[in-house]
């Protein structure tokens, strides 16, 4: 097969292969995390992004470095895509001092001020409210930064969804509300939780632009997100994007997924795997070979092994770090007199 230097959706071969690699990397990273979780290296909750890779890579590939991403507790992929070193993400999972939140956040609380990744939020829907505020700051300062709020179908049922979307539409804030509808909020099927079959009528209620996209189709997601971000950047206000996807694993590692059939899972995995779909498309256009795919997988495997090794070898936080960063000035509940009393100016 002759590899052609064609473009797809305005992307050249190198860009397309890079996006393929990013999807593979996220999947391998999550598989490695699951492995380390079962070995007891990772505690607490662990929510995997497997199955949703195209939804993440496509959306974030449409953003600029100065754009903000505010995410949920299923955010490892978003953190890596926003530019955080995967080693720092894995170290955070391990609770190490080298983690991107110094080991104080864990799986659900990745953060990087440098990369404008404004946290994994573990209160469902909080990112809608926080992201709206970041959008307001961007508008206030006349910046070109757009905010992408990543949330699941469950968050659309929280009250914050209503308050945030109403205000953002009212004030024409540069925000994209990006719903990764993976069909289940924990064990609750979206068909049982929503009084309507899509988010379209909800967007209409706020006079907000709405786009629904196949979240398993990387390039379709990217183009949808490019349009939404462009609207935001031009001051035309927010967009509600509904990216229809599926998580291949349970809600968290603790979830045996009794609420859905193994048949249903198998159907999605065999016919709707976003990585397989993208590989098929690239092959169809003579852009990728089996060797390229194997190389991407091998490279991703190496990276996640390095991540795990880095996390394993990193130090745990010093005991003194327990009291760091509660407040900027280090005060606790009691203001002892030997502390400086004058507020900074």
């Amino acid at each position: 097969m002759a590899i052609r230097n064609v473009t797809l959706a305005g992307l050249d071969r190198e860009q397309l292969l890079h996006m393929h690699y990013q999807m593979v990397l996220i999947r391998r990273f999550e598989e490695k995390a699951a492995e380390e979780y079962t070995l007891g290296k990772i505690g607490g909750f662990l929510h995997l992004y497997i199955g949703q890779e195209a939804s993440g890579v496509g959306a974030l590939s449409a953003l600029r470095p100065e754009d903000y991403v505010v995410s949920s507790y299923r955010e490892h992929g978003h953190a890596i895509l926003k530019g955080i070193d995967p080693k720092a993400v894995m170290a955070e999972l391990f609770g190490k001092a080298t983690g991107c939140s110094k080991g104080r956040g864990g799986s659900m609380h990745m953060y990087s001020a440098e990369h404008n990744l404004i946290g994994g939020q573990a209160i469902v829907g909080a990112q809608l409210a926080i992201g709206t505020g970041i959008g307001f700051a961007s508008q206030y300062e006349g910046k070109q930064s757009v905010v992408s709020v990543m949330f699941g179908d469950g968050a659309a049922d929280e009250g914050a969804f209503h308050e945030a979307l109403n205000l953002a539409s009212l004030w024409k804030l540069p925000v994209v509300y990006y719903c990764e509808n993976n069909q289940y909020s924990m064990g609750m099927a979206v068909t049982k939780a929503w009084s309507v079959s899509s988010l379209e009528p909800r967007a209409a209620a706020y006079g907000m632009a709405y786009e629904r996209v196949d979240g398993m189709d990387l390039l379709a997601v990217r183009e949808t997100m490019l349009r939404a971000a462009e609207r935001a950047r031009k001051g035309e206000g927010p967009t509600l994007v509904e990216s229809v996807t599926y998580r291949f694993r349970g809600h968290s590692m603790a979830d045996p997924a009794y609420y859905r059939t193994r048949d249903e899972e198998a159907r999605w995995r065999s016919s709707r795997d976003p990585i397989a779909l993208f590989e098929a498309k690239l092959k169809e256009n003579d852009i990728i070979t089996d060797d390229d795919i194997a190389a991407a997988n091998m490279r991703a495997d190496e990276v996640v092994e390095e991540c795990a090794q880095f996390a394993e070898e990193s130090p745990v936080p010093e005991p003194d770090a327990l009291y760091d960063d509660v407040l900027a000035d280090g005060t606790g509940a009691i203001a002892w007199r030997n502390q400086p009393s004058t507020p900074r100016d």
Binding site: S101, A129, P343
Partner: protein, 332 residues
């Protein structure tokens, strides 16, 4: 010095800080066109315009969400909640987001945000509009909570709060807005720290530890007690978190007796927390159990006569003091 109201003092603080820093803005329900439910923000819209004086829908959760997000984005928000009762609608974002982000995100984000809100009863506003809920928030690490009682402190502490890097709950009182007091002349810059109490009245027989509107009631009680030969020292905490415990202990070493007086409810609240700290750090100086004056343990009733019974009054303070202070011979 001049004499102005608590309300005007707050407005001056907001206006001065908005002139000083373009990134300071204020938002809330009916604060622009209407001028604020308690007229604190009257005139700000005319001076600063709609970009910086933002009317919001009746949506407390997104008011606070917008404040937190915009603080992360580099602004310095002042969010006005119409009353402290409504802060419950935003309490998730205050407690789960504002108080947590710096810590759980490894020290990265600063949330320089001030939430202004009045609490308290006494105006027949009923059970859902008369609460003093500061203890719920003062319980939470990652927040600061202040409750100024005078116009001087209202202005000086609000200016400090707006310049601070941390999320601050600035609790006003509905019945303090029209209280007058001395404040430095306009143009005379001053601030008041957010971690220092102040002795409002010196005395040797008992220490009254109090804050917000209850401070004024304690001062009145102290004047009455003085007529009977009991000299009460009145400490206005001003800040609840962090609390200036050393100031309280210093006074205790002199008086050896303490009454804690607050408007809120008795059980599991601010006053019991303060009393526990005094027992923990000052037990050896105590000559009597700590007295505790509070609102009655009921939802606030509407009827004026019942409401007055529910609120702590001067006579409650006097009775609590007399219960632990030996009476001068002449007064018996």
């Amino acid at each position: 010095m001049r004499t102005i109201t608590y309300r005007d003092a707050l407005r001056e603080a907001i206006a001065e800080e908005m002139r000083r820093n373009d990134r300071v803005y204020i938002m809330g329900e009916d604060i622009a066109g209407y001028g604020g439910t308690y007229a604190v923000t009257k005139g700000l819209f005319e001076e600063f315009g709609e970009k910086r004086v933002k009317d919001t829908p009746l949506a407390e959760e997104i008011i606070i969400g917008t404040a937190i997000g915009s603080a992360i984005g580099g602004l310095r928000p002042i969010a006005e909640l119409m009353t402290m009762n409504f802060s419950l609608l935003a309490s998730d974002l205050i407690i789960n987001s504002a108080a947590k982000f710096r810590y759980m995100f490894g020290g990265q984000p600063s949330i320089p945000m001030v939430i202004r809100m009045p609490g308290g009863g006494g105006a027949q506003r009923g059970a859902q509009h008369s609460q003093m809920l500061e203890s719920m928030f003062a319980h939470i690490p990652g927040l600061k909570l202040v409750m100024p009682a005078t116009p001087y402190d209202a202005k000086g502490m609000l200016k400090s709060a707006i310049r601070d890097e941390d999320p601050i709950l600035f609790v006003e009182h509905e019945l303090l807005y029209s209280v007058k007091g001395e404040v430095p002349d306009e143009g005379e810059e001053y601030t008041v720290p957010l971690n220092r109490g102040i002795v409002r009245r010196e005395g040797k027989d008992v220490t009254l530890v109090t804050f917000s509107r209850m401070m004024h009631i304690c001062l009145q009680a102290a004047e009455e007690l003085a007529k009977e030969g009991i000299e009460a020292e009145v400490i206005d905490l001003r800040s609840i978190r962090p609390i200036d415990l050393d100031l309280v202990l210093e006074s205790l070493r002199k008086t050896n007796r303490v009454v804690v007086a607050e408007e809120g409810w008795k059980y599991y609240g601010t006053g019991q927390g303060i009393a526990a700290l005094i027992y923990e750090h000052g037990f050896d100086w105590l000559d009597a159990p700590i007295g505790h004056v509070t609102g009655k343990d009921v939802p606030m009733p509407y009827s004026k006569s019942l409401e007055q019974l529910a609120l702590p009054a001067r006579n409650d303070v006097i009775a609590a003091v007399k219960a632990i202070v030996p009476q001068p011979a002449g007064a018996r």
